[in-house]
Point group: C2
Amino acid sequence: MSDTNTLSHEICGILRDEILLQRYRSGERFPSERDLASRFDASRGAVREALSQLDQMGLIRSQPGGARIQSIDSASIAILGPLMVLNEFPDAELVDQFLQTFAALTSLSIKGAIEKADEAQLIQMTKMVVEMSRYANDFETMQPRMSLFHELISNITDNLVVRLIGNDLKAQFVEGMMQSGIKPMMNELSLEGFFKKLEISISKKDGAMAADAFDQHFEELRRATKLAIQTREQELSLKTA
Amino acid sequence: MSDTNTLSHEICGILRDEILLQRYRSGERFPSERDLASRFDASRGAVREALSQLDQMGLIRSQPGGARIQSIDSASIAILGPLMVLNEFPDAELVDQFLQTFAALTSLSIKGAIEKADEAQLIQMTKMVVEMSRYANDFETMQPRMSLFHELISNITDNLVVRLIGNDLKAQFVEGMMQSGIKPMMNELSLEGFFKKLEISISKKDGAMAADAFDQHFEELRRATKLAIQTREQELSLKTA
DNA sequence: CCGACCAAATTGGTCAGACCAAATATTAGC
DNA sequence: GCTAATATTTGGTCTGACCAATTTGGTCGG
C-alpha cells in the first residue's frame, strides 16, 4: 500500500505468514503486545500498529484480554497474495482459483462493456483486439496490451465493485507470479482463435459470444499456468536431487 | 472486524467518510497526525492507528512529509459498504453493482459445485432447494436457507478466492441494506420458477443450466431491489414535502 | 471432584513527551 | 526567476504511565 518499509509492516508480514502457515489454531490467543514487543525488540506502539493491520486483514480479532486467531474464512482478500507464495513455489490450486475468478469477473465485464459501448468505443475495442492479435506468438508483448484492453472494458462497464476486486487480486497475483518467476506459455493457435472470436463478437455486439471467448482464453491460461508451475516444481526437484 | 468501539476506529470511520464524500482531492496532502490529534482531542497514537487503517484501505498513502489522498480505484473492497450508505438512502447504482458481482461469482460457484459434488451432496442440494421453494412467498424465511445453500455450494466448490470475496462483500452489503431498511419484494412466480429450474439442473447435473437459473434469479433480485430503493426515495421525498 | 466466587495479574487502549529521519517550505544568493 | 541552503514540519518510533476489560489462580462449599 504505502511505505511498507516501516517496522510495523515488517512485523505484520512476519506474523501474517506465521498465521497463514498455521502456527496458531483458530480461536487461540495470540501473543501479547508486550511479548511481541520484546520478541521483535520494538516498541509496543509499533507492535500495536502491526496487530491493527492483522486485525484489519481479518486474521486476528483484537480485544481486551488478548487478540484471538480468526478462521481464514473471515479474512480479507489481502491475504491471498501472501498465501499464494507461502512456500517455495506458488500454490497451484490457489493460482487456479485466482484465474477462475478473473474469468468470472471478466465475463461479467465484457458482457457489460459490449452492451454499454457506443460506436467509437466498439471501434476502439476492435482496434485493440486486432493490435493484440499481432502478438499471439509473443505473450510478454501481448500482455500489456491485454491489460489496457481490460482497463478499457472496465471503464466502459464502470462497475466499481468489480474494479476494486480486480485491481486488488491482479496486483497480488502479478506480484506473486513475478516473485516466483512462473511464466505460462500460451498456445499460439489458441490465442489466435481467441482474438478472432473476440473480434467477431464485438462486431456482432454479441456479449455472450465475447464472454465465451474469454472463458476459453482463461481455460487455456489455466492449462498453461498449471503446466508452468509443474515444470518449475520438477526443475526444483531435480535441483535438489 | 473486532472491537470497533475504539477511538482509532471511530476516527478512521469519520475520516473514511470524509474521503469518500470527496472532501479531499486525489493526490492532496492529508491533515497531519498532530493536527488530527488536536481536532479529535486524542493522542497521536490513536490517530496513527486510524491513519494506518485508512492506509490499509487504500484511501491514503502514508509517507514521511504527510499522507496523500489516493484514487478510489486503488482502494480495497472494504470501502464498498460505507460507500453504499454514504447518503440518506443507498446508492442504487452501487447496490446493483454488488448484485451483478454476486451473480457472477455465484454462477462460477454453482457450476463448480455441480461438477464436483458427489451423490450425497447432490441429494443434499436438491433437498435444500425443495425446502427453500416452500418459502417462495416469504422472502425473509427463505433468505437464511438461501444463505445455507450458498455455504454448501461454497464448501463443495472450495474456491478460497471466491469465498473471501463473497464473505466480505456479503457482510458489507447485508449491513448496508439492513441499516437503510431496504427490503426487496421478490415476485413469487419468478422465485418458484427459479427453484424449479434449479432443481432440474441439479438432477441433470447441468451446471450451465443452474448458472442460468441463478442469473435469472439475480435479475429479478436486481429489479426488486431497484424498485424498493426507488420506493424508499419517494417515501422520503414525500416526507420532506 | 466440580462449580462458583473473588482477588490478583495480565492484557488491550490510550495518553504525554521525546527523539530521529525524511519531506516540505522558506529564505538567501546569483 | 531559479537554485541551493536552511529551517520547519511531518511521519516513525521510543519510553513510561494509567485505566478498563479479561484472564488466571486460589479458596470455599456442595
